[in-house]
């Protein structure tokens, strides 16, 4: 099953290796990984997405908890949460595709962040499904380059909102 795990960690060198090491020791792949400072510059927030046997992921989470530099771990998989990802897509902008690219960007409320003689670069934020759908639609028009941030996630405070698909 796919798991979204967030960790609050000390903002120090080596922490990420320790965390990644637990996955490689089990032969697990990390699908996406996102690290950034929090309000407190001494801590970072890591959001990590992985797929694997639930039982083993439980074991890995327990081991995260044991790490001296890990302050807090939450598995958000079964929580009502907000998940977002950002993508930058550089499109091959030919005469016959320009309009379609911009229309697609508009439908998804993506931004054009760079325009070149032969390219458009689009930026989109959304949950994984939205990003995936966006990329699928753009694909036939010719993607030159693509960069995804990986997921960041937070538990929702309002439990009423639904988990997936929605976006304010």
């Amino acid at each position: 099953m796919r798991h979204t795990i967030t960790l609050l960690v000390d903002n120090e060198s080596g922490v990420l290796s320790r965390i990644a090491g637990l996955f490689s020791a089990r032969g697990f792949n990390i699908e996406s990984l996102n690290v950034g400072e929090t309000l407190d510059p001494e801590t970072s927030r890591i959001t990590l997405v992985t797929t694997g046997d639930d039982f083993i992921i439980q074991q890995i989470i327990k081991r995260f908890n044991n790490m001296v530099n890990v302050i807090k771990v939450s598995d958000l998989t079964d929580e009502v949460r907000v998940e977002r990802e950002m993508v930058l897509v550089r499109m091959d902008a030919r005469d016959e595709t320009r309009a379609e690219i911009l229309r697609t960007a508009d439908i998804f409320r993506a931004k054009v962040v760079d325009v070149g003689p032969k390219s458009y670069t689009l930026e989109l934020t959304g949950d994984k499904d939205k990003i995936t759908a966006f990329i699928e639609l753009l694909h036939p028009m010719g993607i030159k380059e693509l960069a995804r941030t990986g997921t960041v996630a937070m538990k929702r405070e309002s439990k009423l909102t639904k988990n997936k698909g929605e976006e304010k």
């Binding site: 080596g14 290796s17 320790r18 020791a25 074991q59 327990k62 044991n66 001296v68 530099n69 890990v70």
Partner: protein, 578 residues
């Protein structure tokens, strides 16, 4: 507040932490530490090992015998990588070893400088935590935290990497008063609700069994265990790592369980209706490795300080995360003062198993059996010695035949099974407990992996006994080849061995030999009562096999009890699994 250099801070902080002895070996980037060392030699003893792996095992043996962290000091690169086997050994058996390595100066870090290795990266998977100290003034805090992390919670090794410029740099020396690690809050007491549940389960059980491991020893929970067990009349079996936590001469003790555990102990685990596991982690050598068939009729209570061991191999009914001693105290408080128990049937059954297939040997003929050696050693020393083993058949026979009476009198590499551990660990144990007789029981194969430490032992005028069991083989390998590989004895026999007595003598130690059964007892008595570094080379029968044996992947009631007892299908499968 005083100004001083990093190397001086190193010793000042060690002294503050109560360190008495450091096991080490000098080299380039720690020379400043060695340079100031003579000024501290009245307060900290340095033992010059001949190999950093051995130094680490010494620190480990010291930790296991004393319960206090053992300390290693060495230089960078090859010295640091030499410690890795020792660190991994300590980690697998939850032993608090703190390793200090020198490192290239910070500006050279990552440049493939002479004797540079990534100590932090290399030791990351086998330490609980490690530090690269970047500023001289951070050294005391890093050292203090290292000791705290190593010795609290589940004990484990910690490494502190000290670049040369940090060691020679000068700053104000301040040891922080307290430690505040936001991400590290080791558990102590168990959850009262869970303990209540456990107590109810224990009171309801008809065939309860204590399944105790090394955590009992690290926690110092033996007295609490005795009280619980005696109040409730619960039989006790221990894992390899737990031996000594409960006295072998107590009528409620049913000897070791596991791959080479006794028939009665393994049958009891299989047949009980409640497993009360304390400080054990259900590893494959303790359970046979067939987790699905483990204790099929039992509920399981699992008391452990490390939440990551809960449900790792075996899914349990009542987990309690906490320090064994604290949890047992909480349990004792919750128990009614008088409990009526009826264990007649259950104890009767256990006695029957003991009678049906007791641990046994027959010393006949002209070859000495290792079982006879250990049985004799046990009788002569009467459980009063600290016994440190190496890895192999002899290790299993000590576990089966030596009757341990006290905690911390049995030291062995269980989790990693590190050959070469025994002798240096025994030396470390002797530094921790100079009042005790320390006996290293080792194989001819294992001893060859760290025999250079005879020099260290003689140099330090140690009083230490080595019983070297010469069977001319990697005996345990030979046993597996006999049982699982059609007696194809590939690379298990030694065509050349040193004359161990002469070898010992060449180092200035004392050597004794015994070849015939009738000489054994006299040789042991003489060796054990002679002061100094004494090596007793005992020639033993290489054909003797360790029984019972659960083939790897087998269930605990599926034991091979003797030659000819092996079921071929099971054995073929076993060879694949191992």
């Amino acid at each position: 507040m005083a100004r001083m250099i990093g190397a001086e801070m190193f010793f000042e902080t060690l002294i503050h932490e109560g360190v008495e002895v450091v096991f080490g070996l000098p080299g380039g980037y720690v020379l400043k530490v060695y340079d100031v060392m003579p000024r501290y030699s009245d307060r900290i003893r340095h033992v010059l090992a001949r190999h950093e792996q051995a130094a680490t095992h010494m620190a480990d043996g010291y930790a296991r015998a004393s319960g206090k962290p053992g300390v290693v000091l060495c230089t960078s690169g090859p010295a640091a990588t030499n410690t890795v086997t020792g660190i991994a050994t300590a980690q697998m058996d939850s032993s608090p070893v703190v390793v200090f390595t020198g490192q290239v100066p910070l500006p050279y870090l990552g440049s493939d400088a002479f004797q540079e290795a990534d100590h932090i990266g290399i030791t990351r998977p086998c330490t609980k935590h490690n530090y690269l100290v970047r500023r001289t003034k951070d050294l005391p805090r890093a050292i203090k935290e290292a000791f705290y992390i190593a010795s609290t919670g589940r004990p484990s090794p910690v490494l502190v990497d000290m670049p040369k410029d940090v060691l020679i740099g000068e700053d104000e020396f301040v040891i922080p008063d307290e430690i505040n690690l936001r991400g590290y809050k080791p558990p102590k007491k168990g959850h009262p609700g869970q303990i209540k549940r456990a107590v109810d389960m224990i009171l309801a059980a008809k065939r309860p069994l204590i399944f105790g491991g090394g955590g009992l020893l690290w926690s110092g929970a033996s007295e609490e265990l005795k009280e619980l067990v005696h109040r409730l009349q619960i039989p006790v079996t221990l894992t390899l790592m737990g031996l000594g936590a409960f006295p072998a001469d107590d009528p409620l003790f049913i000897s070791m369980l596991g791959m080479h555990g006794s028939y009665a102990a393994n049958m009891a685990v299989h047949d009980c209706d409640l497993v009360i596991s304390i400080g054990a982690r259900f590893d494959d050598r303790a359970t046979g490795g067939n987790f699905a068939k483990f204790a099929p009729n039992a509920k399981i209570i699992h008391i452990d300080i490390d939440p990551a061991t809960i449900d790792k191999n075996i899914v349990v009914h009542c987990p309690i995360v906490g320090d064994a001693k604290e949890v047992l105290r909480q349990m004792l408080e919750m128990l009614p003062a008088k409990v009526k128990t009826n264990r007649k049937e259950w104890m009767g059954q256990i006695k029957e198993w003991e009678k049906k297939h007791p641990l046994a040997y027959k010393q006949e003929g002209d070859k000495i059996l290792t079982t006879y050696v250990i049985d004799t050693l046990s009788k002569i020393t009467d459980g009063e010695a600290i016994i440190v083993s190496d890895v192999g058949q002899h290790q299993m026979w000590v576990a089966q035949w030596y009757r341990f009476k006290y905690p911390r009198t049995w030291i062995t590499s269980g989790g990693l099974g590190t050959m070469g551990f025994g002798f240096p660990a025994a030396m470390g144990a002797k530094f921790a407990r100079p009042d005790k007789m320390v006996v290293c029981v080792c194989g001819d194969g294992s001893f060859q992996m760290n025999m250079q430490e005879l020099a260290t032992a003689v140099e330090n005028k140690m009083d230490i006994k080595i019983i070297l069991l010469n069977n001319g083989h990697h005996g345990m390998v030979r046993q597996w080849q006999t049982m699982f590989y059609n007696c194809n004895y590939s690379a298990s026999k030694f065509d050349v061995l040193p004359d161990f007595v002469k070898l010992a003598e060449s180092f200035g130690a004392i050597g004794l030999k015994a070849r015939r059964p009738e000489d054994l007892e006299a040789t042991l008595r003489e060796g054990l009562s002679t002061e100094g570094v004494v090596l007793m080379e005992i020639f033993v029968d290489c054909e003797e096999l360790v029984y019972p044996m659960i083939a790897p992947g087998g269930a605990m009631n599926e034991m091979i009890l003797g030659p000819g007892d092996a079921v071929s299908g099971m054995v073929a499968e076993a060879a694949d699994m191992a």
